[in-house]
Symmetry: C2
Subunit: 318 residues, 2 copies
């Protein structure tokens, strides 16, 4: 027996989506088959629409897609929302997601929709230089969705919305650390066990092994291990300004995340890098994994103005 709120592993995600739709009935609608979630009130005609997704288990991130969305699901979601201004696909860099969104773009194109894609690949732990699948996509997707959504709402063109998304991707990087594994729905034991006193640095949001297993350290030291590679990768220095996301991976308490925010802010203060805007909380989880990720995006006045646009969704509310 899994120590979880669950009826059966088979129906688990569908039942969770049904509850989610019910709880946010004014905001979202869940299409049962193929499974996708759309806003309850359609976007005004003439505006670019956004389609984002990936596996489940990262709630509240892109609730609505079920374990690696199929091309059929993505295409159906696009078909449900597409208008004359076009559709922006926001895709995190995982082989299956990239493939299925590409197929869906073809399918949508054949139905007459104009599609642009922003590929998010922010995880420095997987930055191995040339070749291979490249960096994984993680919490920078939050910034892409929030900012692109705001620009689309203003009536910008598909090209403009895609361009700002790509600008965020180019100037955003993330790094994660796990203090525990995560437990899949219906399973009794976590996907991997971390002995007390050990951490996994550079872990993926699907339980992918980290870059390094090492000894647990203080929050201060862990913050340094996460922030330093981001600052290096983005070439950030004195006078630069950023958007910061301190994200909980699921099982980490609000108090711990507050401590991590403090430590990250102190490191950035010391380096003369300003935090213009921020998020603090569990926004992109890995089921019940204890851990956190830090995302830095180089900011500028245009990004900040879009960041400040009002938003009302189940998860991101400002």
């Amino acid at each position: 027996v899994a120590q979880q709120f669950i009826n059966s592993a088979d129906g688990f995600v569908a039942e969770a989506l049904e509850g989610f739709e019910r709880a946010h009935a004014g905001l979202v609608r869940w299409n049962r088959s193929p499974s996708f979630v759309v806003r309850a009130t359609p976007a005004p005609p003439g505006k670019v629409v956004l389609v984002s997704g990936g596996g489940s288990g990262h709630e509240p991130l892109h609730t609505g897609y079920v374990s690696s969305p199929s091309a059929v699901q993505v295409a159906a979601a696009a078909d449900a929302v597409a208008g004359p201004a076009g559709v922006l696909f926001i895709v995190k860099n995982y082989t299956g997601d990239v493939l299925n969104f590409a197929l869906a773009a073809d399918m949508a194109g054949r139905k007459g929709a104009t599609v642009e894609t922003v590929l998010v690949d922010d995880d420095v732990a997987t930055d191995t230089g040339e070749g291979g699948p490249g960096r994984r996509g993680t919490a920078a997707v939050l910034v892409v969705e929030k900012v692109c959504g705001a620009l689309a709402e203003q009536g910008a063109s598909l090209g403009q919305v895609a361009a700002v998304g790509r600008r965020i991707v180019a100037s955003g990087r993330s790094m994660s650390v796990a203090l525990s594994g995560s437990t899949h729905p219906g399973h009794v034991h976590p996907s991997f066990e971390l002995p007390v006193g050990q951490i996994e640095l550079g872990v993926g949001i699907h339980g992918e092994p980290g870059r390094e297993r090492r000894a647990l350290a203080s929050a201060h030291e862990l913050a340094g291990l996460l922030v330093e590679p981001l600052v290096t990768a983005l070439g950030l220095g004195r006078g630069d300004s950023t958007i910061l996301v301190v994200n909980g991976l699921g099982g980490t308490t609000g108090l711990e995340l507050g401590v991590m925010f403090r430590e990250v802010a102190a490191l950035l203060d010391a380096a003369g890098i300003s935090i213009e805007r921020s998020l603090l909380g569990p926004y992109l989880t890995s089921l019940d994994m204890a851990g956190c990720s830090i995302t830095l995006v180089r900011s500028d006045p245009e990004l900040l103005a879009l960041w400040d646009a009002p938003v009302r969704t189940p998860a991101l509310t400002w």
Copy 2:
């Protein structure tokens, strides 16, 4: 070593508050000594102000108080915000909190403030009839804070704001279930261990033992065990309308909470009890405890109109 993001157990809560203040700088200000959190922009003069609090470890609930707030902390918070329209204390029914808020009310009164207190006691698991400390206060406090805050913002009198708070308390009940214990900051092991396959029904938010330890059951059955005593205690029946809170205790995933929302909604649907508004998520946690609580408040048009008032705080955003 505790498998947590922590520098030292001693400074843990203060450091978390420092990070919290930094992350929400436009919204809140943390007073270091005595420790309390107030809104960054003072309430307009002439409006009733709310002071709420309790122990830490329940984030995002009433961030700002440190393990059972002392009378000095509460009085200082009241002093920092009190205006001519008076102060409403919102207190969860625990012996220490009740005592310290009462002392603080005396202290504030001697400084000239008018204070009313709403005591929240919604936990049916501790409903033992006459005598004793009475029912514990749990997640109904979310509804009290949201609705009283909205009425105060409208410029209502202290008596009116207190009255609506008491009406919510009288018509709101909660029930919790734990699937795991919680781990205190700096500790390696949880405060109590639940063997796989066992649950604790009617558990408190500080790890107080439940009313009953029993075998794990399906989400559907667990929802029934939580909802039935609430419906009975409130005398809810066909045609009644409610506000529903499906609250995660910290370590439970968004997917599981979605499943629980679905099950609770189905039970209420079957009983002909309508869900007019709802919250779904980890709003009042017990550190990293796996589990959830269900709160039902009997609703009416006045409560719903106040519920719908716009709000912007770090945790409750609509």
